[in-house]
C-alpha cells in the first residue's frame, strides 16, 4: 500500500471538517477525490503530509506509520520531514518560490534537502522541465509566466524528488479555462506511466478518465466510492447524483 488513511478526524475549533475518513491507494493507483466546496477534500489531502494537523486518525505512507502525539501533531519532526520529501505536492496556487528561476525551483529540494549532487540535480531538472514543455523557460522567474506554465513547473518541482505519491490539491482551479488543458495533459501522462496519485479536483470528466478509483466526500465523510464508471455512470447516493448534476 502506498497510502493508508484510517479514521481521519479534523476539527477547526468547534467545526468538524473530517468525520472519520478512511482511504487507501496501492502503488500505481490514481485516486480522485471529488466533492462540493467545504466537503473537506482539500483538508483531507493536506492532513496526509501534515500541512494541517489531524485531530486523530492514522496515516501510513509507503508502509511507514506517521507517529502522532495525542493531539494529532507529528511526534517526530525528522520523520515527518523525511516522509514529506516522499510526497510531491502540487498546490492550487502553484506556490513556486518567486525569488528563484524555474530551474532553481526544481533543484531546490533535491540539492538542499536530499543532498543530491548539484550537477546531477540540474541534469535531472532539465529533463523534467523539458518533459512539462518548459525547457526554454529554465532561467525565467515564475512571475513572468502564465498560470499554466507555473503549474507545470510546480509539477516538475514535485517530480524532482521522485515521490512515492503525488498529491494534487485542485491543480487547475486557479487557471484560466484555456490553460487547464495543458496542465491536465501533463497529469494524464503521469497517470499513464503509473505514478501513484491522489487528486483533489473539480474536473469531473478528467477524474473519470484518469482515475481508477473515485471518492466522493460529503460534509467530511465518504458518501460513496468506487471505480469511476460506476461512480459517474451509476451513482447510488442521492447526494452524489445531485452533485454530479450541478457540476454538469
Amino acid at each position: 500500500m502506498a497510502i493508508v488513511v484510517e479514521n481521519l478526524h479534523k476539527s477547526f475549533g468547534a467545526l468538524e471538517v473530517l468525520k472519520g475518513v478512511s482511504l487507501s491507494a496501492r502503488k500505481g493507483d490514481v485516486v480522485a477525490i471529488i466533492g462540493g466546496s467545504g466537503s473537506g477534500k482539500s483538508t483531507m489531502l493536506r492532513c496526509i503530509n501534515f500541512l494541517e494537523t489531524p485531530s486523530s486518525g492514522k496515516i501510513v505512507v509507503a508502509g511507514e506509520e506517521i507517529a502522532m502525539r495525542a493531539d494529532g501533531s507529528p511526534a517526530d519532526r525528522r520523520q515527518i520531514e523525511r516522509i514529506r520529501t516522499r510526497l510531491g505536492m502540487v498546490f492550487q496556487a502553484f506556490n513556486l518560490w518567486t525569488h528563484r528561476t524555474l530551474l532553481e525551483n526544481v533543484i531546490e529540494v533535491p540539492v538542499y534537502v536530499l543532498k543530491t549532487p548539484r550537477a546531477e540535480a540540474i541534469a535531472r531538472a532539465r529533463v523534467l522541465l523539458d518533459r512539462v514543455g518548459l525547457a526554454d523557460k529554465a532561467d525565467t522567474f515564475p512571475a513572468f509566466l502564465s498560470g499554466g506554465q507555473q503549474q507545470r513547473a510546480a509539477i516538475a518541482r514535485a517530480l524532482a524528488v521522485d515521490p512515492s505519491v503525488m498529491l494534487f490539491d485542485e491543480p487547475t482551479s486557479a487557471l484560466d479555462p484555456e490553460l487547464v488543458g495543458e496542465v491536465l495533459t501533463v497529469i494524464r501522462d503521469l497517470a499513464a506511466e503509473g505514478r501513484t496519485m491522489l487528486l483533489v479536483t473539480h474536473e469531473m470528466k478528467f477524474a473519470r478518465e484518469v482515475a481508477n478509483h473515485v471518492v466522493y466526500l460529503f460534509e467530511g465523510q465518504i458518501e460513496e466510492q468506487g471505480p469511476p464508471d460506476q461512480l459517474f455512470g451509476a451513482p447510488k447516493s442521492a447526494r452524489l447524483k445531485q452533485f454530479l448534476q450541478t457540476v454538469g
Binding site: R77, T85, W97, H99, V109, P142, V161
Partner: protein, 250 residues
C-alpha cells in the same frame, strides 16, 4: 590653482583640512572611520536582534512575545540620546560590578564595543519591526511549499524566508542604516571620538567652525550617497523575479 584659492579666500581652509598636521583632515577621517565601524557593527548587531525579535514576535510563546513587545516599545519610546546615556553607563557599570565581584577589578570598556552595543540595542528594536513586517508580507504559500517538501525550519529560514522577505525589508533597512550612521554622532556625548566629536575638537582648537562642520557635513553626505548606491543594488537583486511596477516595463 593656488592663486585661484587665494582669490576665493579658501587657501586657509585647505590648510586647515590638510591630512597631515597642522591640518586636521586626518583627524576627521579617523573620526569617520570610527563612525562607520560603529554604524556597521550596530547595524549588523541590530539585524541579528531584529531577526530573532521578529521570529519571536511571530512564532514565540506568550511570554516571549510580551518581553519583545516591552523591548520594542520602550526602546522606541525613549529618545535615543537618553537611551545611549542609560545603556552606556548602566552597561559599563554592570560589567564592572560583575568583574569586581569575580575578583578581576575594574575593566576599561572599549569605546567601539560600547558604541556597537548601545546603538545595536536601539537598532534591534526598529529592525524587529521592519523584519516582522517583511516576513508577514511573504506569500504564505511559499513557506507552505517549503514545509510540504520536508525542509527543516532553519533551512526554510535561510533558503526561503530570508531571500523572500529581502525585497520587502530593503527600503526599511536602508533607512535604518542611514539612521545608524548619523546616530553615531550621539556617541560624542559619552566621549567617543567619532566624526562629530573630532570635528568639534578641530573647530574648537582653530575657531574655524564653519569650515570643519561643513567638511563633516560633506563627509556624512558622501556616506549617504554611497549607501544609496549600494542599497539600490541590493534592492535590485532582492527584487529579481518580480515584475517592475512601472507600466510597460518588465
Amino acid at each position: 590653482m593656488e592663486s585661484l584659492l587665494d582669490t576665493l579666500g579658501l587657501s586657509q581652509s585647505v590648510q586647515l583640512l590638510s591630512l597631515s598636521p597642522p591640518g586636521w583632515g586626518g583627524n576627521l577621517l579617523r573620526g569617520l572611520a570610527n563612525s562607520l565601524q560603529i554604524a556597521l557593527g550596530a547595524f549588523g548587531f541590530g539585524l541579528l536582534i531584529g531577526l530573532f525579535g521578529a521570529y519571536g514576535k511571530l512564532y514565540g510563546g506568550p511570554i516571549l512575545r510580551d518581553l519583545l513587545a516591552i523591548y520594542t516599545t520602550v526602546i522606541r519610546a525613549v529618545p535615543e540620546l537618553v537611551l545611549i546615556l542609560i545603556l552606556y553607563y548602566v552597561g559599563s557599570d554592570l560589567i564592572n560590578q560583575a568583574s569586581v565581584a569575580m575578583g578581576y577589578g575594574r575593566v576599561e570598556i572599549s569605546g567601539v564595543v560600547a558604541g556597537i552595543w548601545v546603538l545595536g540595542v536601539v537598532q534591534g528594536a526598529y529592525s524587529t519591526e521592519v523584519l516582522r513586517g517583511a516576513i508577514q508580507a511573504i506569500p504564505p504559500g511559499q513557506l507552505e511549499a517549503a514545509r510540504a517538501f520536508g525542509m527543516p525550519p532553519l533551512m526554510t529560514l535561510r533558503r526561503v524566508t530570508i531571500p523572500a522577505m529581502m525585497s520587502f525589508a530593503t527600503p526599511g533597512l536602508a533607512n535604518l542604516w542611514l539612521i545608524a550612521t548619523k546616530d553615531t554622532a550621539l556617541l560624542a556625548i559619552v566621549g567617543f571620538s567619532e566624526l562629530t566629536l573630532e570635528t568639534r575638537q578641530a573647530a574648537g582648537s582653530t575657531r574655524a567652525y564653519f569650515t570643519f562642520f561643513l567638511a563633516a557635513g560633506a563627509l556624512y553626505l558622501i556616506v549617504t550617497l554611497f549607501s544609496g548606491a549600494i542599497f539600490a543594488r541590493i534592492e535590485k537583486w532582492a527584487r529579481r523575479g518580480q515584475p517592475s511596477l512601472k507600466e510597460g516595463n518588465r
